[in-house]
């Protein structure tokens, strides 16, 4: 809940009109959809199903091409499956699975928590004006393991005793593992880039 409020606050700070809703029908009138999330994959997914979000998300994001930004758990939902406490189906929008972080050395702690720099692979989209290695705030124990066939969707990675997918983009679908709403200037800049991309998409 706190996370959701921060994301909303960040977009308000950028001058955007924000609606926080649990009613999937509200997505139809939105010009972009943001799904932030902390917590367990299975609970989050079950709630989305129960409230009827899955079908409408598919219509709006996949069929109509509305810009989508998934933050943290919202990015992990893009996967085909998550292995957090069992095996759970994701949206399946990107080929990959969600697995526990397994660092090579014990000095890298799980959860991966704190400020870490990312290696930007694609400098367009969300990373315009952010340079080679911007620093973002991470808090997570699981990460999105992308299948080789989808490697070209990875827009940045970071190192925490293991290579971690920090962000992805597939056309109108964006995902970030870190928390831009907690990453000060770099985070606000990234969210502003999302707004610009999204409004560009709407104008086109």
């Amino acid at each position: 809940m706190g996370n959701l409020r921060y994301v909303a606050n960040a977009f308000v700070a950028l001058g955007q009109e924000v609606m926080v809703t649990s009613n999937p029908n509200d997505l139809r009138s939105a010009s972009a959809i943001i799904l932030p999330g902390v917590g367990a994959f299975s609970d989050g997914k079950r709630n989305l199903e129960k409230l009827g979000f899955i079908e409408i998300l598919n219509e709006e994001v996949i069929e109509k091409g509305k810009p989508y930004l998934g933050i943290c758990l919202g990015m992990q939902f893009l996967a085909q499956e998550s292995y957090e406490n069992g095996c759970h189906k994701g949206f399946g929008w990107i080929n990959g699975n969600v697995k526990r972080i397994k660092p090579c050395e014990s000095k890298y702690k799980v959860p991966h928590m704190g400020w870490n720099n990312v290696q930007v692979q694609r400098k367009d989209g969300l990373f315009v004006g952010l340079g080679e290695g911007p620093v973002f705030y991470f808090v997570h124990s699981y990460c999105l393991d992308i299948e080789e066939s989808s490697f070209n969707y990875v827009t940045s990675t970071c190192w925490h005793g293991v290579r971690i997918t920090a962000s992805v983009q597939k056309e109108n679908i964006f995902g970030v593992q870190f928390h831009p709403e907690k990453s000060q200037g770099a985070g606000l800049k990234l969210l502003k880039n999302f707004v610009d991309t999204a409004s560009g998409a709407t104008n086109a």
């Binding site: 706190g2 950028l14 001058g15 009109e17 509200d26 959860p111 704190g114 400020w115 720099n117 620093v135």
Partner: protein, 272 residues
Amino acid sequence: MLKKRLIATLLTRNGRIVQSVNFRHTNVIGNAFTAVDFFNTWAVDEIVILDVSLNKNFREKFYEMIQGLSRRCFVPLTVGGWVTSIEDIRTLLKTGADKVVVNTEAVKNPGFVTDAARIFGSQCIVISIDVKLDTNNVYKVYIDRGKEATSLSSEEWAKKVQELGAGEIYLTSIDRDGLLQGYDLQLLQSVTSVVNIPVIASGGVGHWQHLVDGINIGNTDAVSAANIFHYTEHSTKNAKEFLHKAGVDARETVFYKVTQPRRPVYEIDYRV
């Protein structure tokens, strides 16, 4: 690689920011909102807000303040003071805290730490340890805002809270608090050498070199200061630059140009 963190700590008493020397409150600094706005633009990595009011009477006002601050704070916000129940933690997290600091209640009821870590996750439970050096040269843990001595030594209590499920330790030297003489480095080493959860150094910063010492000699993951940040222009930014020059792997203070409307509208359409 995770960056070393620079933390600004704000002490609030009855809704106003105060300064502290050896845990006695000295002058009132004023408005928390101004402070957070400055820290936000000045590249601090985290903000810690501790309610050091003498009683719980101003609690509602404190929650209101945290909620207001969370609207303009785009770094992790850690909040503590008077946290004695699971419900207190839940309220703070809902109000806008990312992590919650527990002190006195952890000593009185160690099971509380385990319960809190199980319910909210270790990463959001920070145990604050206030320490004074006694006449036998032992670092003794104090509770209730430094007023009540316990029989615990800082090392044994630090090890214990890690076992109980704490995600982080906020370690303050009461003797050094507010004296501008630097951290008690021996205290920092004694704790960082026995735990492997992150330790935040607190108490005594009078010069930016003290921050470097806290990290390089005290082996801490984060360094915090309070008083020193209030009186200098661009204080946290200068502190950051000093850390960089000293070779500390801290987040850089890059300025990203983000156009924000002059008067943001704070109304969010909540339909949940």
